[in-house]
């Protein structure tokens, strides 16, 4: 299995509070991604990174920000959590571009009350 960990694995928070999810990889892969999974929607891309300090928006980026100060860490921040951000969040990594398989972390279940 690819060395990807996510923390925390579960979190319950209240509306309006800031939340940061962490993705950590030990594979030294260039690309990292954040997806959210909701019933009826499959997984949707929030943000991705193509190198240290290089990030870009995905399909559903509103309300989220990311940072990558080291190759191994990719942080997803909800500045002010809302109930619509209750979801399961997955981090993924890939070594190169489309020629490489994308590996997923175990997921974080976030509940915003």
């Amino acid at each position: 299995d690819a060395g990807i960990t996510q923390s925390p694995r579960h979190k319950v928070t209240e509306t309006g509070t800031p939340v940061t999810l962490r993705c950590h990889q030990t594979e030294n892969h260039r690309y990292m991604y954040w997806y959210r999974q909701d019933p009826g929607h499959g997984l949707r891309l929030i943000h991705y990174s193509y190198g240290v300090k290089d990030t870009d928006k995905g399909e559903v980026s509103d309300g989220y920000s990311v940072s990558r100060s080291k190759t191994e860490d990719f942080l997803l921040t909800l500045e002010s959590a809302t109930s619509s951000q209750t979801s399961v969040y997955f981090c993924a990594i890939s070594a190169q571009t489309s020629t490489d398989t994308q590996y997923f972390g175990p997921g974080t279940r976030l509940t915003v009350l």
């Binding site: 690309y31 991604y33 997806y35 009826g40 929607h41 499959g42 997984l43 949707r44 891309l45 991705y48 193509y50 870009d56 995905g58 399909e59 399961v88 997955f90 993924a92 890939s94 571009t97 489309s98 020629t99 490489d100 398989t101 994308q102 590996y103 997923f104 175990p106 997921g107």
Partner: protein, 115 residues
């Protein structure tokens, strides 16, 4: 925008039988990859099979094979000799061969295996 559609929210099959999961996609691009991912109750996303659009030959991985029809934009997954461990959500996904690997997923099909 690219879209991926899985029209079967749920499917069931008897153990040892064969089942086919459907997937269609919409894109104007010509160079892309298609994937099937499996998500068991553990929630882990597991790559099942990958198909390069430039390859005419359908991909096969043990009991899993695909029927890739590029002109029809169809990408179905066939599972032969179904096993109890195959029970999971299955997601079809598309990615452009250019830049970062921004996967576009279908809504998923929940597969139940009946003993």
């Amino acid at each position: 925008a690219q879209t991926v559609t899985q029209s079967q929210p749920e499917m069931s099959v008897q153990e040892a039988e064969t089942v086919t999961l459907s997937c269609t996609y919409d894109t104007s691009e010509s160079d892309y990859y298609l994937f099937w991912y499996k998500q068991p109750p553990s929630r882990q996303m597991i790559l099942v099979i990958r198909q390069e659009a430039y390859k005419q030959q359908n991909a096969t991985e043990n009991r899993f094979s695909v029927n890739f029809q590029k002109a029809a934009k169809s990408f179905s997954l066939k599972i032969s000799d179904s096993q109890l461990g195959d029970a999971a959500m299955y997601f079809c996904a598309w990615v452009l061969i250019q830049g970062a690997q921004k996967l576009v997923f279908g809504q998923g099909t929940r597969l139940t295996i009946n003993p």
